[in-house]
Symmetry: C2
Subunit: 429 residues, 2 copies
Amino acid sequence: MKVVKIALLGFGTVSQGAFNLLKDNYELITNRTNVDVQVTKIFVRNPDKYSHITLPAHTTYVTDVNDVLQDDSIDMVVELMGGTTFAKDCVEQALKSGKNVVTANKDLMAEAGPYLLDLASKNNVDLRFEASVLGGIPIIRTLYDSLGGNKITELVGIMNGTTNFILSKMTDEGLGYEEVLKEAQELGYAEADPTADVEGLDAARKLAILASISFNRRIFFEDVTVEGITKIDKTDIAYGKDFGYNIKLLGIAKETNKGLSLNVYPAFVPIQHPLAAVRGSYNAIYIKGNGIDDAMFYGRGAGSLPTGSSVVSDIMEVAKNIDYNATGRLKPFYFDQKNIYAPGKIESSYYIRLVVDNKIGVLAKIASKMAEQKISVLSVAQRNDHPDKAILAVVTSKCPRSYILNLIDSFNSLRSVQKVSSVIRIMED
Amino acid sequence: MKVVKIALLGFGTVSQGAFNLLKDNYELITNRTNVDVQVTKIFVRNPDKYSHITLPAHTTYVTDVNDVLQDDSIDMVVELMGGTTFAKDCVEQALKSGKNVVTANKDLMAEAGPYLLDLASKNNVDLRFEASVLGGIPIIRTLYDSLGGNKITELVGIMNGTTNFILSKMTDEGLGYEEVLKEAQELGYAEADPTADVEGLDAARKLAILASISFNRRIFFEDVTVEGITKIDKTDIAYGKDFGYNIKLLGIAKETNKGLSLNVYPAFVPIQHPLAAVRGSYNAIYIKGNGIDDAMFYGRGAGSLPTGSSVVSDIMEVAKNIDYNATGRLKPFYFDQKNIYAPGKIESSYYIRLVVDNKIGVLAKIASKMAEQKISVLSVAQRNDHPDKAILAVVTSKCPRSYILNLIDSFNSLRSVQKVSSVIRIMED
């Protein structure tokens, strides 16, 4: 049986998850691949930090990365350090010296994925990155292989566990954003500085990677229009529930006849849609294609073992390729011309919440402003529990965002409108 | 660019779906595989039947299958005829003569999958069968590759669209089984003889194929204990809703410390479980593994283009393997000893509906019979809308099926129990 020797760069949560699966499922993995995968080196800065972990006899820590990169016996480098400078240097060097690479580095793949895939292909080695997005959900391989014969028309994902945890808890328990964020931080679900998650930046990076594969174009983080969840109010969540919606932070890539639109924003998802049932820290990707019609892939978007599972599946694939002399087969799919469609032009239904004077005739004024903009009312809910003001929530027909911005201006021009409190998109069913 | 020549055997719904995707997505598929896939022959009994379909110049109908099997220019045979006799002969001959095979034939793979996979492996060619189960959902490849590093502990699926359509409609519209079955037959969702679907036989065949891959053992249809949906009553569905459950026909393979249990039966799924949201003719597979924790794969379980999409993804994979001289790599995973665990011993919560006398003290008698069997009551609902009888629905704690059978005997021995109407398992959350 062929022995394939691998080195792990970094030994944090995901690396230990992959290491443990390779150890605990050794017999299974060997039987399935017909290859003996051995971790021979683990590169870390300070091995003392890991003295509580027992390594097999054939595994040693190294503190100089050149002990990996210049070791000809190592067939595969598994980069699990994160970051885009030192990690990028290591991956580049590994590929150039004919070593296969597996990485879980989202930032690296979002920034330099196309370049690195080209480099791997030129050097006839594999570069696999299943674990770089959505942890345990096998979405990269699914897009490349299983759905490869489909023209993908739309990809919608709940791609960030922190925000889904926060929004689910706000929905289930009727709590406010700040309160739930604080709890998420205490539980370790949110970082001390939660910006990357709650402002949608993390989701936008994942969307860029997935859209690049799905739509055969080089998409970067900068191409995605991003809006976070910090302004979502529990009042809106309650109204949404009454209208039959759950609030979710969505990453959406959609092919239109005018180009590809790429957005991250919070939206109301109709409760009968499978994405509406994705709760807590789970992630899911919903895909439409001209063959499959629609499909959804759901699971753990993070965590030591789930993400480790994706790393191990890549290691197994590369090990089999090495055994069959068939590495270097994963070509980047960047043959289509890139054209991004401005999000202002995308049509959607909208939920709008207003604070208005508690007077007869206000609804009529609101409705006539909508009629002037050629927008119809799909649903309306009004609560008059205060002598001076009433809350009015409306769901509009589908229209471009620019119409909605005009509508809001015209609402603001009405003396009986005290405030336009919220404007939230509604996902198409 | 390498040209890979393929022949389709049969030109029914799925075959035409695959053919149309290969044609409509030709540029995409060629770019993604870097191979020019050409359908050169289509074997049919009567080409006149397809005179309305325009074929490309390089494609011809043949009415003798030997024109395919003995044609050395054909690299890949795509078997889409169905059946287990002639189809099996064709697949065997193709593999033996060094041709790669793609099939969508569930019955063939359930009956002879292990043998045919061995045969392919011996002849260094590929045998792919993604489309043989669950139409457009890419589950075979996911189990083989993406989750390959996981010890799968449980696989639960909604694997039959006909029964899910029927149960969803009964649930949504409060209709009875016979009424909905008739409508499903009129709409073409159910066959004139619906036995294979409604008695769970189709689901059992799919479960056998999926369990074979997931649990590394040769599992056959006969190993699965099967119960259909014909006895499901709309009254039970209504009670289930009140308790927070949706009824589904589930295929369940579960590793226990005493062996593998394999069952198809209708069960109540807690509404917060992702499988509960799988509606209408959709299918889904929910999987637990020691790496991924849990994941779900959802989509169209049938249909011309969705199933065609799975056929095309296999064709693309095989075409790339041919281009890289890397065929024959998909080994069957049958290295574990087979031990099936008797379903009578599997623990579950149960829903039991009784018709009892409308008298004081009946609930106390029921409860004491349960206490005697060491089964506790998780929920209870009683409706007394008739002078002589009352309906009592109870949800039990988890216990082996044998306890429940004893409990039902003891209920039947009570004079105040008129009838035990229904006994339905509850899926573990």
